[in-house]
């Protein structure tokens, strides 16, 4: 797990579902590079005029700041895989849909951070953000606005996050490494 993640943030609202994150028409593969090129493809452009991906399929963002219930809907792990392949390393949300949260913890690709309040009003897309993990919590920093917010505690899942995901965690416990 990275202790520090810094880069531009992309801000979304409540109830961002996994159909928007990676539409089902792309689920015939789990190839990260392919999925990454379609991450957030079905976000409503009326609501999100700044596209998540550039025209050439690259992404300028490293952190997503979201409201409630991020990742609701399908259990598809394609969702965190797509976001990570696009360039995202952390998602900050005031709450997560539980399967998406578990996929982040267990898959070990994306760091899921629960904020203590809705941070979407304190960040705007393109702001420079930073995540600093210390013990069982993290600081969520907006350098553009010079503000710092605490995350909620990771709780007991910190062990799995620290191991780098459920596979590494289980292998260590089973003495396979």
């Amino acid at each position: 797990m990275k202790d520090t993640i810094s880069g531009k943030v992309y801000v979304v609202g409540d109830n961002i579902d996994t159909d928007v994150t990676i539409p089902a028409r792309f689920l015939t593969t789990m190839d990260p590079a392919f999925l990454g090129r379609h991450a957030m493809e079905d976000l409503d452009p009326k609501q999100y005029p700044v596209p998540f991906l550039n025209r050439d399929g690259t992404c300028d963002y490293r952190i997503i700041i979201a409201g409630r219930n991020f990742g609701c809907g399908s259990s598809r792990e394609h969702a965190p895989i797509a976001l990570h392949a696009a360039g995202i390393d952390a998602v900050v949300a005031s709450s997560f849909a539980r399967i998406f949260y578990r996929n982040c913890v267990n898959g070990g690709l994306l760091l899921p951070l629960e904020s203590t309040m809705d941070l979407t009003a304190f960040f705007k897309t393109g702001d420079e953000g930073e995540i600093r993990v210390a013990d069982n919590v993290a600081d969520i920093i907006n350098h553009s606005q010079q503000q710092l917010f605490p995350s909620r505690s990771f709780g007991p899942v910190k062990e799995i996050i620290e191991a780098g995901g459920l596979t590494a965690y289980n292998k260590k416990r089973l003495g396979l490494v």
Partner: protein
């Protein structure tokens, strides 16, 4: 010490503890893992690469390809092929693996297949690589959806960590009006509490309306738990559960067996002093046909308010709305009727057995005579896979479970969720309407 909920009971037993408390993190043994074509590929690779390829002892694996089968394109044909090879390899290794493949024709949508084939029993812990795995709670099992990494780790270890959920009790009284189904009851609840109203919780359904409900209808309630953000949905097992299992050949029919089974269920129910994070009471007799408008399942209004919404497609199918009872209810509305001009009605039975019953009982003719199009079992267009994708700007009324943006096709198309009766009535009218009382 206060009592325990049915969910806490099951999780305590599965983690070898006297009792567990909400929010506690535990590791539980898993009885059954469900695998389908979309989410299994990397789990299979993970098992081979990281854990020497052996399925854990004591774990039953049920394999039910359903999302993109019969294969919709070359990529999905390869996903299916990979699953088939995995089954063959694990059978040779002596794993407890039960496949329902297309070869031979006995296949279908996972969440209807597993109960139908007797793989869901009260008190079990069941996980699957699909968010609607919460369906099996209708049988008094603890069941929940997991991701691919989790599925791979469950294959290898037969165990998984859980945060014990708080339980929300939903007590339902009263006789449901004839034009109302379990789907309307769920929509009422999610409309009230929102798509994260039961986040991380177990939605436990009780009350006189629930204990007289058949298993298909109970499955609709538990299937959609995830649409309120819940970890699981659950209903205590009773003699209706028992009769279903007898009917499917899982349980013996004799009297003494039944008696001892029902007595043993005393361990698989909530104590009267169990603790709930919320208790919700609903009078089912006051319900009316409801519809969830785009693009959230919680965007619920009475069907009567949407008379101006014209539809291009009506869809009866999926794990939520493609069970025998769903077709039986829709056929009751469609019998002797013709669907409106300009409407496509897609009928997609969830399993081969249901399809066979539809033909045998004359419902196939009822749908065809009304002007419907029949499909082989598949998840199909429910998740925008294939077999009924919507063009830009089109509207569909559907007995399925999600209406997110772009769910069934073009991002500008719209999905309205409703009961099979409302879908049938709307197909006849050409616009959204509930069935007559």
């Amino acid at each position: 010490m206060t009592g325990q909920t049915i969910t806490e009971r099951i999780l305590a037993s599965a983690s070898n503890k006297e009792r567990v408390s909400p929010r506690e993190t535990i590791e539980a043994r898993v009885n059954v893992l469900m695998m389908h074509d979309v989410t299994s590929s990397d789990a299979i690779k993970l098992l081979k690469k990281e854990f020497e390829g052996k399925v854990a002892d004591g774990l039953k694996v049920v394999v039910t390809p359903d999302h993109y089968v019969p294969a919709k394109d070359i990529a999905s044909a390869k996903l299916y092929q990979e699953l088939k090879e995995f089954v063959k390899e694990q059978e040779a290794r002596g794993a407890d693996i039960v496949p329902y493949m297309l070869e031979g024709g006995d296949y279908g949508v996972c969440h209807v297949m597993l109960p139908e084939k007797g793989h869901v029993l009260p008190g079990q812990v069941i996980v699957g690589g699909d968010s609607h795995t919460c369906t099996y709670g209708a049988f008094g099992a603890f069941s929940t959806g997991v991701g691919t990494t989790e599925a791979g780790n469950v294959l290898a270890t037969g165990r998984l960590w859980f945060r014990v959920p708080e339980s929300m009790k939903i007590e339902v009284n009263g006789k449901m009006p004839r034009n109302v189904m379990a789907k309307d009851l769920f929509l009422r609840v999610v409309g009230d509490i929102g798509v994260d109203g039961a986040l991380y919780q177990a939605m436990e359904w009780t009350g006189p309306t629930i204990i007289t409900m058949n298993m298909d209808e109970r499955m609709t309630l538990t299937n959609m738990a995830i649409e309120a953000g819940a970890k699981s949905g659950i209903i205590a097992p009773d003699d209706i559960t028992f009769d279903y299992l007898v009917d499917k050949g899982v349980m013996r029919r004799d009297f003494f067996y039944r008696k001892s089974w029902l007595e043993s269920l005393g361990r698989i129910k909530s104590d009267s002093d169990a603790q709930y994070i919320a208790v919700k009471k609903i009078d089912a007799s006051g319900l009316e046909p409801l519809v969830a408008k785009p693009s959230l399942p919680s965007n619920v209004v009475p069907a009567s308010q949407l008379k101006d919404v014209r539809i291009n497609q009506a869809y009866i199918g999926g794990c939520t709305g493609g069970k025998w009872t769903d077709f039986d209810a829709a056929a009751e509305i469609l019998r002797g009727q013709k669907i409106a001009k300009g409407v496509r009605l897609l009928v997609v039975p969830s399993t081969a057995d249901i399809q066979r019953e539809l033909v045998r009982n004359g419902l196939y003719d009822t749908f065809m005579d009304a002007g419907a199009i029949f499909s082989a079992p598949t998840c199909g267009a429910c998740l925008g896979g294939y077999m009924g994708i919507l063009a830009p700007g089109e509207s569909c009324i559907s007995s399925t479970n999600r209406n997110f943006r772009g769910r069934m096709g073009d991002p500008s198309s719209e999905v309205y969720l409703a009961s099979p009766k409302t879908v049938a009535a709307s197909a006849i009218a050409g616009h959204i309407t509930g069935a007559e009382k």
